[in-house]
């Protein structure tokens, strides 16, 4: 194998060879290489197949702009669609091309090339639309595709997220960024400077320039050394600033943080000011077969020669429309490479450019119309811009430059505007929309001295200080005459190599009426993908402008969106514990529940609760039945701690609660409580719960578990925005109280066995009242509420006493056969009683009257939340769905949500079943339903119609299936 490595020079370490595998074959490179530079050094020219046509492709760029060679990394580095130019070479690296099978050399999909003229832009969407696109999509995605996501997360290491705060965030550590950092850091600003490269220096890494008479990289090293020594500077390399959000909030992902246990770290930086020193990206030239392996950007050729000591070709032709190619040519000559010719589309080439390469043939006013060769470039055809006699040149490398585009991605993401600059033939930053400045090549300052000056000037303006001395840095002045496409081209002329978008595709889009540049992008896919058209977008805009006969300005750019370069999902997610995004909430007896073999799940608001406590081989239904029987015929206990609990204090709590609840709360006597509904202004029932008065100015509001946080916000909103002058203080005390709720006919006996100083007789301590005292020697707040329909005591204690209380309850209850009760049994018991559950019976369409709770809508109070809205809605009339009980006439459980239809026929539904449970008191399936006109249909038979036509007849009843008069719960 022919090695293409220079003997000396570059920033690679020749004493540290590395071995790697590409498409199954072993190669070697050096520390400091990228995968791309190492492949070129091994003379691997054919590295990829194109997205759609499977055309042979090589390496085109040297950095994030690379459109062609995407690789999938294997093993520990597993990740897909990485540009080979950004993969740092490491020992044992295994990579393969993404869009060819079995290899880029022998690619079965290459048959697409034969049909290329039949698959223009939009072909797939137009052709595979019957019966629908999704039928064909998987196969097409496989053929025209990128790599699959790794099947496993990275085996070792973690992702981290952190916040950053600074006076100045500088994106890019090229010459202008470093100059800005140095100037601002010396002025005492807190500076973060982040750069995507593994080394600072930006374009200086690839070029042979001097600053202050010494090699430019010496200056870079000095500046970096000064910066890292300053406590007010955070210097990040291998860290891409990829997102610019509102209020100067930027996303920075560091790919190899200094902590070895971290894979990546994402910074969320809030910066007082931002400087985009993001450099510029070279654009390609558009001519026939401009995608052949061996056609390479001039800046990339320069990078491979100067930075990696790699010769990408021995007989290069250079095709240019601007001055920068001549500096590249000079570096090639200096590396001992003989240039075949420079084809310059400009009729007159500036003398200072020619002077860099004396003796090299310059063909002015000519263009390359066509590249020749298949899997590697063999030559080019050169002709005049409008035709004329063609000349063939033999070459193995075509170095192209279509000019430079300032990297305005971050600038534009900040919503700052662009303007088209005729002199530079590109879009430049114009008016900032946030606190941001663009400097250096990113602001069109393409020559080195200009770039250094603009970096310093931006900081001088910002800090109102004097401009420091700018070191002398000679560079060839930039000059360009744009050429958006070679009009005499022969063969496919690619505008976007990654998506296989040609000039013809853009013309087709325009012919079909997609004339807006955003539509052109979506129709052709030009500018999409991994590279987001970094090298091709302006040529697309130019092609549109030429075809429409308008200016580039009139066409405009597509929107620049984050991320600037691809970001791994892990980096966005950051550190995650287990499998949930938000942590679960637990009560103090989770361990006890688990020790009892409870089946735990989340039952609202992220609380982990026991669903049921299976014994032996019991399933859900058997365990639930057993727990229900304990409560109905003996005694059970459940942990009611997750219910939302709020303490309201102040002189105005009574009238505040009257405003929040639909019924009257202010008339409650201390020690007593009342059930009520909370409505919003538009009449929706937003919660139900009980409210207790502790004393004149202290109240307890309890809410359903799932709505506790929302009701907290609601109460605060009403208080702070409508009644700020009222004397009310709201404190969330959900986690200040835990409780064991003892329920069942034997509950009082268990309470007596526990021992209490509170008189438990129903006269002294009736239903819906509250007492403070002691139970089992613990200070408690004892409440007689019931969510099961049985005699119940809610024993509330401070969380530190909860485990103790629970153990004592289980011990004292043991002679009575007490059982712990899970959420499943609680659900059954509340359905038997016809008690509401928000989200089941209360779905946003029903009001209190529909629920048979019209009594709760106070007539006495002139105003409360929801009153007017409910009345207006009811006045409009119409049939309403009303809450009823249903008793299944079959032995089949009715699925929750099953529709009721007239006579069970296939007609418009007249309601649905909200819940259906096995009743241990009736030994049959009972449920609740919302049924049209339900209140007047008690005793009738209604019909559930299931999918597939199965009909279950049900008897319509009152919602309460058990102890209708509430004797048990009041006992």
């Amino acid at each position: 194998m022919e090695t293409k490595r220079l003997d000396r020079g570059g920033r690679i370490d020749r004493s540290r060879p590395l071995t790697f595998t590409f498409n199954g074959k072993g190669y070697s490179g050096y520390e400091g290489d990228t995968l791309a530079s190492a492949l070129l050094a091994n003379d691997v020219r054919l590295t990829a197949r194109s997205f759609k046509y499977h055309r042979p492709r090589g390496i085109v760029g040297a950095g994030v702009e690379e459109p062609s060679t995407l690789v999938e990394l294997m093993n520990a580095d597993a990740s897909g669609n990485q540009p080979a130019t950004t993969v740092t070479l490491s020992e044992g690296l295994v990579a393969k091309s993404v869009n060819c099978w079995p290899s880029p050399g022998f690619d079965i999909g290459a048959v697409n090339q034969l049909a290329a003229r039949f698959i223009p832009a939009g072909f797939y969407y137009k052709t595979f639309k019957w019966p629908n696109w999704h039928l064909y999509e998987p196969a097409i995605r496989k053929a025209a595709g990128l790599s699959a996501a790794p099947s496993e997360p990275p085996a070792a290491g973690q992702f981290e997220a952190r916040y950053g705060h600074c006076d100045l965030l500088i994106a890019g550590s090229g010459p202008s960024g470093l100059m800005a950092a140095l100037t601002s850091a010396r002025a005492g600003l807190r500076v973060i400077i982040a750069d995507e490269g593994c080394e600072a220096g930006g374009a200086l890494l690839s070029r042979k320039l001097t600053i202050g008479g010494a090699p430019a990289m010496d200056w870079v090293a000095e500046v970096v050394a000064e910066l890292v020594a300053m406590p007010n500077v955070t210097h990040l390399q291998n860290a891409t600033v990829w997102g610019y959000r509102e209020h100067n909030y930027l996303m920075v992902t560091e790919r190899s943080p200094d902590n070895p246990s971290l894979l990546e770290r994402t910074w969320r930086v809030r910066a007082c000011h931002v400087i985009t020193a993001t450099g510029a990206i070279e654009r390609g030239l558009v001519f026939g077969n401009n995608d052949r392996p061996g056609v390479m950007l001039a800046s990339a050729v320069q990078t491979y020669v100067n930075r990696y000591g790699v010769v990408p070709g021995k007989r290069p032709v250079i095709f240019t429309n601007n001055n920068s190619a001549y500096a590249v040519a000079a570096d090639l000559v200096a590396a001992g490479i003989t240039i075949v010719a420079i084809i310059d589309s400009r009729d007159s080439v500036p003398e200072e450019a020619r002077a860099l390469v004396p003796g090299v043939e310059v063909m002015a006013g000519k263009v390359v119309t066509e590249a020749r060769g298949g899997r590697r470039l063999r030559g080019v055809v050169v002709a005049g811009k409008t035709g004329g006699s063609a000349r063939r040149l033999s070459c193995d490398l075509l170095t192209i430059t279509g000019g430079w585009n300032p990297t305005v991605h971050l600038w534009s993401q900040s919503r700052s505007s662009l303007r088209y600059d005729e002199t530079l033939s590109t879009f430049l930053p114009d008016t900032p929309a946030q606190a941001v400045s663009a400097v250096g090549a990113a602001d069109g300052a393409l020559a080195l001295q200009q770039a250094l000056r603009s970096g310093a000037e931006a900081v001088a303006r910002l800090t109102d200080t004097e401009l420091p001395e700018i070191p002398h840095a000679p560079d060839l002045p930039y000059a360009i005459e744009p050429i958006w496409r070679v009009e005499t081209a022969r063969g496919k002329s690619f505008l976007d190599l990654q998506n296989d978008v040609t000039v013809d595709d853009v013309h087709l889009a325009l012919r079909e009426g997609y004339s807006n540049v955003e539509h052109v992008k979506r129709y052709t896919t030009g500018g999409m993908g991994i590279d987001q058209g970094k090298t091709g977008n302006i040529n697309i805009i130019g092609t549109v402008a030429l075809a429409q006969g308008v200016t580039i300005d009139a066409v405009g750019t597509t929107t620049f969106r984050a991320p600037y370069t691809p970001v791994s999902f892990g980096a966005i997610g950051g550190l995650r514990e287990e499998t949930v995004a938000l942590p679960y909430r637990h009560t103090p007896i989770t361990d006890w529940n688990l020790a009892q073999g409870a089946f735990m799940y989340e039952s609202g608001a992220r609380w982990r609760r026991p669903g049921y406590f299976p014994k032996g081989g019991e399933g859900l239904q058997e365990a639930t039945n057993r727990e229900c029987r304990a409560v109905r015929f003996g005694v059970g206990v459940y942990d009611g701690s997750p219910l939302g609990t709020f303490e309201l204090k102040g002189r105005d709590v009574g009238r505040f609660l009257d405003y929040l609840y639909s019924n009257v709360m202010s008339s409650l006597k201390p020690g007593n409580g009342r059930y009520g509904l909370m409505l919003s202004d538009d009449g929706l029932i937003i919660d139900d719960g009980v409210c207790f008065r502790l004393d004149d100015h202290r109240w307890i509001v309890s809410t359903s578990t799932g709505h506790a946080d929302a009701i907290n916000g609601h109460m605060e909103e009403m208080l702070q925005t409508r009644f700020p002058e009222w004397n009310v203080f709201i404190t969330a005390v959900t986690s200040q109280w835990n409780n064991a709720t003892i329920c069942g006919p034997k509950a009082r006996e268990v309470m007596e066995a526990l021992g209490t100083d509170i008189d438990l007789s129903p006269d002294a301590f009736p239903f819906m009242s509250l007492r403070d005292g002691t139970v089992a020697g613990l200070p408690v707040r004892l409440v007689r509420v019931s969510f099961t329909g049985e005699l119940s005591y809610e024993v509330n204690v401070a969380p530190r006493h909860m485990r103790d209380l629970w153990a004592k309850v289980m011990e004292a209850g043991q002679p009575f056969g007490i059982l712990p009760v899970g959420s499943e049994a609680s659900h059954v018991l509340r359905v038997e009683k016809g008690f509401l559950s928000l989200g089941h019976e209360v779905d946003g369409t029903v009001d209190a009257y529909d629920l048979g709770m019209g009594w709760s809508m106070s007539k006495k109070k002139p105003d409360y939340l929801g009153k007017r809205a409910v009345h207006i809605r009811r006045e409009t009339g119409g049939v309403r769905r009303e809450l009823v009980g249903v008793i299944s006439k079959s032995d089949r459980q009715i699925p929750e949500g099953a529709p009721l239809t007239p006579g069970g026929r296939k007609e418009k539904t007249e309601g649905f079943v909200t819940a259906c449970v096995w009743s241990v008191v009736h030994d049959r399936w009972v449920g609740l339903a919302l049924l049209e006109g339900g209140h007047s249909r008690h005793g009738e038979t209604a019909h559930v119609r299931l999918k597939g036509g199965e009909v279950i007849p049900v008897r319509v009843t009152v919602p309460c299936h058990y102890d209708h008069d509430g004797e048990k719960l009041r006992s």
Partner: protein, 85 residues
Amino acid sequence: MMQIPCPFCGARNESEFSFGGPVKPPRPEPEAVSDADWTAWLTQVPNPLGPVQEQWWHVRGCGTWLTIWRDTRSHDIVEGPGDGN
């Protein structure tokens, strides 16, 4: 992510707040207005392209409900709580 000025805590990340919607006109006396006016107040929420007054709840902070003017085109907070006083 926006930075929202809290009158008690200073400028804080949006993630500490819960959005409370645009500020509607003051709630009319329910019985003093027509059904149509009441329904209009209930259902019509200001939705301008430009500055809108809106409420935010500093739920993961001090708990204050506050009011700002935010430009819906740019997210610029053109007036913070109390700026107008």
